[in-house]
Amino acid sequence: MIAAGEGGFHAPTIDEFFPEGVLFEGTIFELNRIRLVMIVMTIVVGGFFWLAFRKPQVVPRGLQNVGEVAIDFVKFQIVDEVIGKEGRRFLPYLTTLFFLILAFNIAGIIPPLQIAGTSVIALPMLLAICTWVLFNYTGIKEQGLGHYLKVNLFPSGLPKVMYVLVTPIEFASTFILRPVTLTLRLLGNMMAGHMVLLLFFAGTSYLLFDAGALLKPIGLLSFGMGFAFTAFEILVAVLQAYIFTLLTAVYLAGAMSAEH
């Protein structure tokens, strides 16, 4: 095994996600690299849409074109597909969700940020809570509390005695599993992606500069793998943003239709 001594190989650890503060250390306003990433990417996303739609024109030009393509993607591919036209009122929330998560995710491969804002639990959890509150609020408003609970906890067409077994399962899958899986799926993907990239590039650095001559070619292999996984991380960043938004839309669709 590779010894972790002076100038030796240091495998990345979970400490990666608890970087030291860079500003206001020791106060509740302490800023570390991950929080800076969140602030920077929020400004980037907000700034982009502000610039694109600052003076909207009927015939869009320049940045407004890009902005409209971005919004149309969420509008047609997610809202219309999953909820239908009546889901357009959720377009602002779903668009914000998609592009914010995408930006936080993609920060993981942008030098010098190089860590995803979504790779610590706070952000995925906060967004999952927003989604949870929104779909429950929508369900109760559209269907009434009693009917909403009845539809979600007591699926129709079962023998009465089966509800004893079924209702706890329905409760868990609708009200607990949904926010938890939204949070963990996004968090897990972004955390793992960061660790994989770090492992390959730390490995490359060790193999090329510190290890014996025989190991140096393997360093090149590790370098290549690091690049391959960087490309893969772009895919993961987009996919996870899409899945989070898609599932939010699915839950909203369920809350809106008064199905029996």
Binding site: V82, I169, A172, L177, V250, E259
Partner: protein, 69 residues
Amino acid sequence: MSDQQGRPGQGDSLVWSVVATLVAGPAVWGAIGYGVDKLAGTDRVFLGIGVIVGFVTSLYLVYVKYGRG
């Protein structure tokens, strides 16, 4: 898959609902079984029963909700 009727439980959303139900069944009844084990002092007897009951119930639930079309 286009779902212009807006009815949930079709297309992409169907897959997610089914998976959630299949996970929730063994998890919930397994947890209840685990609690019963703790109270009764038994060793993973009710946990096992709970997981199996939960899984069978999940399958039944998926059949009732999505399988009868």
